[in-house]
């Protein structure tokens, strides 16, 4: 039991010994929902997911069922790609699913593949996740051995293969088209969208559903408890629970499964045990490093769901909550953030490639004590010139937080200037 007494969905079996082995997993109900799904019509499965209100937990928060529905009727073969490239600073929840309950993910991916009638599933995991990859790969082997993958699965007449694929150190491969390029054996350069979304033209030009690990892991649970029950767990338009990665200045950092819409301050104080050493809260980054920073006042009465966080001018993103106490200098924080994006820019668009690098140089001046007032305006202008002028969202991912730091903590930047 957690939070306000609701059911645990994803983390229910995280502490069960040996849950990653298929025998233990099946004793705990694994693959039951997949078997049920195979008796339904594919469209019916998609419909249930649509009705549940499940939204992508990888960052964008798009309706999962709707995405599945975008696959063109007459185009085969089709693919499902599991996005396990978790690398947005602050985000560290998918690794728990991969390590502790990989069969939940595999079951979800299989149900998705059945719903869209895909013939192969690729589980793309970032290269640095050696241990999670090893555990998941073993689970895939077991799923084959039990006949949940391969030819004519459980005599349903439907066949589907599952393959593992690792990235090799590039944040941009978490972007769905970057991930597809990477899977095709190329640099992970994101594709321009629109006009073509992966659901219509994806891996090798074929319809492809790219879903995040956590998102797919929810699917068996939705079938289990029903769409209505699932959506009733969250807040309006935000079905179910979420895995919140809580990090930074809290007494009990960790990953918490709580209903969507759990108040931010509850997460920090009630679950996270508050801020250590009696320090005061200064700010929170609510949805991974790419989200706008919130001041302490802005954190009050804020339900953590996509709409509420957006209404406060930030975003829930991957629900990675980073807590910052009064001792942290915001210019320093900005420097860490910018350094990440400057390093991870794929280099395809000039505003992002050059802009992030200039931001990095300017942000460093505030640490070295060589900054001048006009550097603040230059950073703003740079961010503004990146924002909305790039192929993928990485441009905005650096521009938005930069602007929010500059606006909300301008006095700190000014104080760090020589004149």
């Amino acid at each position: 039991m957690i939070g306000n007494g609701s059911t645990l969905l994803l983390s229910r079996n995280f502490a069960v010994d040996n849950m990653a082995s298929i025998d233990v997993a099946m004793k705990n109900g694994a693959y039951e929902q997949f078997k049920r799904a195979l008796k339904m019509k594919p469209e019916e499965v998609t419909q249930v997911v649509k009705e549940s209100g499940l939204r992508g937990h990888g960052g964008a928060g798009f309706s999962t069922g709707t995405k599945w529905g975008f696959v063109p009727k007459d185009k085969f073969p089709r693919y499902v790609t599991v996005n396990g490239d978790e690398s947005e600073p602050g985000t560290c929840k998918d690794r728990l699913i991969l390590e502790r309950d990989p069969h939940l993910l595999i079951e979800g991916a299989l149900i998705c593949a059945y719903a869209v009638q895909a013939e192969r599933i690729y589980i793309y995991i970032r290269g640095e996740y050696f241990y999670p990859t090893m555990v998941t790969a073993r689970a895939v082997q077991e799923a084959y051995a039990k006949g949940f993958a391969g030819q004519n699965i459980l005599n349903s007449g439907w066949s589907c293969g599952i393959h593992m694929h690792n990235g090799a150190g590039a944040y941009i491969c978490g972007e769905e088209t970057g991930l597809i390029e990477s899977l095709e054996g190329k640099k992970g350069w994101p594709r321009l969208k629109p006009p073509f979304y992966p659901a219509a033209i994806g891996l090798w030009g074929q319809p492809t559903i790219v879903n995040n690990v956590e998102t797919l892991a929810f699917v068996p649970r939705i079938l289990e408890i029903g769409a209505e029950k699932f959506s009733s767990l969250g807040s309006p338009k935000n079905g179910g629970t979420a895995l919140y990665s809580l990090s930074g200045h809290v007494n009990r950092p960790g990953v918490y499964e709580l209903p969507m819409g759990t108040p931010l301050m509850d997460l920090i104080d009630k679950f996270g045990g508050g801020i250590p050493n009696g320090k005061k809260l200064k700010a929170v980054i609510p949805g991974g490093s790419s989200s706008h920073i919130l001041t302490a006042e802005e954190c009050e009465n804020l339900p953590l769901d996509f709409e509420s966080v957006a209404a406060r001018g930030s975003m829930l993103g991957s629900a990675a909550v980073m807590v910052i106490d009064e001792t942290v200098s915001i210019p320093k924080l900005m420097h860490w953030m910018v350094r990440f994006y400057a390093h991870e820019s794929c280099g395809q668009c000039t505003p992002c490639r050059e802009g992030t690098d200039w931001l990095l140089r300017l942000s460093k001046k505030f640490l070295d004590g060589t900054a001048r007032r006009r550097d603040i305006d230059d950073m703003w202008e740079l961010a503004d010139n990146i924002d909305g002028k790039t192929i993928c969202a990485l441009g905005a991912a650096v521009a938005w937080p930069t602007k929010s730091y500059l606006v909300k903590f301008r006095h700190e930047f000014e104080a760090a200037c020589r004149n």
């Binding site: 985000t91 690794r95 090799a168 150190g169 054996g185 190329k186 990090s247 499964e257 980073m322 990440f340």
Partner: protein, 180 residues
């Protein structure tokens, strides 16, 4: 240099994962396997990968230069990848990085003279809630302190590595603490 038989076997296995005319997709997995076996991607193995997958040399180059985990140079026996991003920095990562540098006598990117250690500072390793974190080759270590770092490094020097933190702890997870 000979390409080990084990690698050739792996190559066959990898190619099988993708449609027949899409062998290029096996590039990253295969290069990964090469550096796992040989320690780095040698010029000969680079050519071998290109030939095996029927891909031009420049495509292989692109992969090696684009992805930060691809190693076109030898590195130490233990590659230490230390996270230097926000969550880890908030938890004392900045000071810890200095400590590691001193302890190893290395700046990021350098390899020790005895060939034992290579230090690399990397961006977020996806262990933010248990930061600061680092990787030693394929092993993950969380909740680092100067003492824990010392234990890890001393252990490697003595040939008695500290066991990795597998699986990732459930610290703080209400769900994981006790399921009753």
């Amino acid at each position: 240099m000979q390409i080990p038989e084990t690698l050739k076997k792996k190559a066959e296995e990898f190619v099988f994962r993708y449609p027949e005319d899409k062998r290029q997709s096996a590039l990253i997995p295969l290069l990964f396997e090469v550096q796992r076996e040989l320690g780095w991607i040698t010029p000969e193995s680079e050519v071998w990968v290109a030939e095996t997958l029927g891909v031009s040399a420049i495509k292989v180059r692109e992969i090696i230069t684009f992805y930060s985990m691809m190693r076109a140079e030898p590195s130490g026996k233990y590659l230490i990848q230390f996270c230097q991003n926000i969550s880890c920095c908030l938890m004392g990562g900045v000071e810890l990085q200095r400590h590691i540098e001193e302890k190893l006598g290395l700046h990021p990117g350098e390899t020790s003279k005895d060939g034992l250690f290579t230090l690399k500072c990397v961006e977020c390793l996806g262990g933010c809630s248990w930061g600061p974190m680092l990787l030693v080759n394929e092993d993950q270590y969380f909740q680092l302190t100067t003492e824990k770092v010392d234990r890890i490094i001393n252990g490697l020097r003595a040939g008695e590595p500290v066991p990795a933190d597998n699986p990732t702890p459930l610290l703080g997870n209400v769900a994981g603490e006790k399921v009753s």
